[in-house]
Subunit: 344 residues, 2 copies
């Protein structure tokens, strides 16, 4: 089945390439569905309409290629964020190696609790304590060392539910949106509250997003020389920009310098980015992924009737703003034919 589909796709693509020059684009577009993991309906159509309106030269909403910017939150928008952000798990997992390097931390909180392996106690650590772990595991090493540490973790870590590498817990429908936009000369950026250097390690391989298009929470680095006089950068414990909430449009300005035409998020952390995007002239697209599929992924947020979560907070107020300001809420349950590439 998989092979058949691939062959059909290849044939369709070849046909599309051969005929693209001679047939109208509407006919061409019907040949290959750019969003095969999306159920037909208003949500999928809204994405296609937006792309059509902003990339067709005849459209009043045509956007020149250099201005075609689309921004994607990561946690809960591109990959699974429950029960805890993957980067926080990374930081907790790093603690034993950290204590090997710095044995004096063994009896110091919060490192002591993390080393104990007591999951309930770890889950109860207040944010202030967790922050100490983040700083200790995300700074103090060279940029190259950090990249190696993250790569090693990604290769061996498995999530608790699907027992798969975290980088396989990517939403296939969102990958299709990214590819569809890139095929239409959009530049796709990740704009995440996660660490910029962390996400850069796998963004190209996993999302097709090169390092210079990853906008995240930014820490400072310090230029220096090793004992052979060779320059290198050390990750510092200084925060340049917290790329969350109001920090997202601020980070977009800093890194891109242009307002996006399309933005995708899933929580109150994305609110300002979606407002900023939607407030621009012409046709803009602001979308929110709603986690309402406990069977295939997780259910949380206002539409589920379940209590709000601290991870990926989606309040009723955000839901109301989305309805009022013509943002589109994506129902994972109704709009997505499949969620992960590994599903059959």
């Amino acid at each position: 089945m998989k092979t058949t589909r691939r062959l059909l796709l290849a044939a369709a693509l070849a046909l599309a390439t051969l005929t693209a020059a001679s047939v109208p684009s509407a006919v061409h577009a019907q040949v290959v569905d750019p969003l095969p993991s999306w159920n037909d309906g208003a949500t999928k159509q809204a994405i296609r309409d937006f792309v059509q309106a902003t990339t067709d030269r005849q459209s009043p909403d045509f956007v020149p290629p250099g201005q075609r910017i689309a921004t994607f939150d990561q946690d809960g928008t591109l990959w699974v964020e429950q029960p805890m952000y993957s980067q926080v798990i990374y930081c907790l997992d790093r603690v034993p190696d950290l204590v090997k390097e710095k044995p004096e931390l063994k009896d110091v909180e919060p490192f002591k609790t993390v080393l104990s392996g007591d999951k309930q106690a770890i889950a109860k650590l207040p944010w202030k304590e967790l922050e100490k772990i983040l700083i200790a595991t995300l700074s103090g090493m060279s940029v190259d060392e950090f990249q190696d540490q993250v790569k090693q973790w990604l290769a061996k870590a498995r999530d608790p539910r699907w027992k798969r590498p975290y980088t396989e817990l990517i939403y296939q429908p969102m990958l299709e949106v990214m590819r569809f936009l890139r095929d239409k000369d959009y530049k796709t950026y990740i704009v995440t509250g996660g660490g910029q250097d962390f996400v850069r390690v796998y963004a190209d391989r996993v999302y097709g997003v090169p390092t210079e298009q990853v906008v995240g929470t930014m820490g400072g680095t310090k230029f220096g020389y090793d004992q052979n006089g060779k320059p290198f950068l050390t990750k510092e414990p200084t925060l340049l920009l917290n790329d969350d909430k109001a920090g997202k449009p601020e980070g977009i300005h800093l890194m891109i310098g242009m307002q996006p035409y399309a933005a995708f998020g899933n929580s109150t952390g994305d609110q300002q980015m979606l407002e900023y995007t939607k407030s621009g002239d012409g046709k803009r697209l602001s979308m929110l992924v709603m986690h309402d599929d406990a069977a295939r992924e997780y259910a949380y947020g206002p539409a589920t009737g379940l209590p709000e979560t601290k991870v990926g907070t989606f309040t009723q107020a955000l839901f109301d703003e989305a309805k009022k300001d013509d943002w589109i809420v994506i129902s994972m349950k109704k709009d997505w034919k499949r969620i992960f590439a590994f599903e059959e």
Copy 2:
């Protein structure tokens, strides 16, 4: 003469396009000189050799397109920096309008001195005082207002020597290097001590460098809403990164996340960027523009025998490091056939 040259160039380009698929690239390269404003010689050849070595699939130093990063300092490397950085002139020129908006500054130093028009007194202002003018004219307004202010200034301001817009004082040979690299799938970045938002206003039009490829000194912005609830960003007086000296590799890591393969500078402010570039594996290119042509532009720096300047400091130590570490020093006098596009 100009028309003839353009026709010849067009014919050569057409020929190159027609035959590119069927002739070896060495022959193709001879058809059109990508660096017509450079005199033949070792410097020009070094640039061509670098491009050949890093973009030819058969070369041991081949670099995949996604990693082809080239960074260019601006002041003194891409455009004239004497007698004073253009952005500082912008800030001084803004003072009268600023005082109109804030009359209380009229009798306050250093604004009072700037308003006096006394050029000698203005030139004597210490850096601490100048900084107050920079902060007052580069922050406090919305990002859109700032862009409008810079655009208006660029349209009317003229430099004191050539009586031309500052954006015409661009070194034609360097524009050719940028285009040559881009034609070979290099991404060209500006990495400047100047303000990131300032340079972005004209970088695309003047250098063909889009806003997201301008790395400069970065100030913070603050997200907020106007009286109609529309989001906008205000330029804040906070410094996120001083993109000079060690700040250049730090800014490159922040904005690009990869080490450049080629870097171009002209002063001690570029030293760390050139070191960082040259220290990477494989073939790398670090170049320094030396201002040794008082007749056609300016002469300053160690090779001229003139005293060092505060603007664009090129010390003997930097010159020695260049020689030792195999950086290439560009002599404007010997290597450049013409300096500006407006020359006949």
